[in-house]
């Protein structure tokens, strides 16, 4: 009978303790990767600020625009109260915007403006048929997906004002619940610094806003 000799090339079988240590180590490293990279990039959750440092948070930022002019989100249009609280001054003139939006059957779209906290906007919109609508705002520094609803109803028109309760994007979700296209005519004026359109395909597009001087051009 030949003696059984150990193969010198064989790896030793790890003990249960060694395996437990390796598993615990893997879980710790996994947790670190989750917090530092995956959560900031995928969900916009950045508990330790690493995502911002590494530039990963930009992937989920609501301000990331696919096409159109950049939206200035700095504090340029913050109102300063007058001696009487009835009024406020702004460092720049207001802008205005007017456009026609067509919603295809069963489709939806969002259209919003960026305003600083306290800044005001006037709006009027009218649709060719009733649409499901939600007027709402998303704070710049809010969690991904967070919004506050100002009004939610089926409407065919809306005329009103908004004083932004927080700095962020504020506007409408319109949904065509019928089988025919619906046209919405929107006109606004306000101390906003950007307009953003978000389609149901998640495509984001910013729009140029009109300065008051263009009214002079129209007149001449």
């Amino acid at each position: 009978m030949h003696p059984v000799t150990a193969d010198p090339r064989a790896q030793p079988v790890p003990s249960g303790r060694a395996l437990a240590k390796a598993t615990a180590g893997a879980l710790v490293v996994a947790a670190m990767i989750l917090v530092v990279a995956v959560l900031p990039a995928e969900d916009g959750i950045d508990p330790i600020g690493a995502g911002k440092v590494l530039g990963l948070s930009a992937m989920t930022q609501a301000g990331a625009v696919v096409e159109g002019p950049p939206i200035a989100t700095d504090a340029g249009l913050v109102p300063t109260a007058m001696a009487h609280k009835a009024g406020a001054y702004y460092p720049a003139e207001y802008k205005f915007d007017s456009r026609e939006i067509t919603l295809q059957p069963y489709d939806y779209l969002e259209y919003k403006y960026h305003l600083q906290m306290g800044a005001q906007m006037l709006f009027s919109w009218k649709a060719s048929a009733p649409v499901m609508h939600e007027f709402h705002g998303e704070p710049d520094d809010g969690p991904e997906g967070y919004f506050e609803s100002y009004d939610k109803a089926t409407r065919q028109a809306g005329d009103g004002t908004l004083t932004a309760p927080f700095t962020g994007i504020h506007g409408w979700y319109w949904e065509n619940t019928g089988g025919e296209p619906v046209t919405i005519r929107l006109t606004t004026a306000g101390f906003y610094n950007g307009a953003l359109e978000i389609s149901s395909t998640k495509k984001r597009r910013s729009h140029e806003l009109r300065a008051l001087e263009t009214l002079e051009r129209d007149r001449n």
């Binding site: 180590g25 893997a26 879980l27 990767i33 959560l39 990039a41 019928g178 089988g179 998640k202």
Partner: protein, 106 residues
């Protein structure tokens, strides 16, 4: 070697967390094929979306709940789903609606 295995295992675990971060999609079109719990929808732009149904998928017609067996080829549907792409969606809600343009045809 142990360090490498530990790192690979860690990346695998961390990577699976990213799989849960899907996007919402709205699919509007006509059912072109149905095979069990998977339906193919031809959208208005001609592209096809592949949508899976599960036990949580809510199906309705005229705002009334109906069985998933009602989803037949040729029907116009509006689907709210989530997934990574239009080729791999899980339906949250499916509404059976009249064919697009039917209102003006009356």
């Amino acid at each position: 070697m142990r360090t490498l295995i530990t790192l690979v295992a860690a990346l695998l675990v961390a990577g699976t967390a990213g799989l849960s971060a899907h996007e919402d999609f709205r699919v509007i079109g006509t059912i072109s094929k149905r095979q069990g719990s998977v339906i193919n929808v031809k959208q208005r732009d001609g592209t096809a979306a592949v949508v899976r149904l599960d036990k949580q998928t809510a199906v309705s017609r005229d705002k009334k709940k109906v069985d998933t067996s009602e989803l037949k080829v040729g029907l116009t549907v509006v689907i709210d789903a989530y997934g990574d792409s239009e080729e791999d969606l899980l339906a949250l809600e499916i509404r059976i609606v009249p064919p697009i343009g039917a209102e003006s045809a009356r």
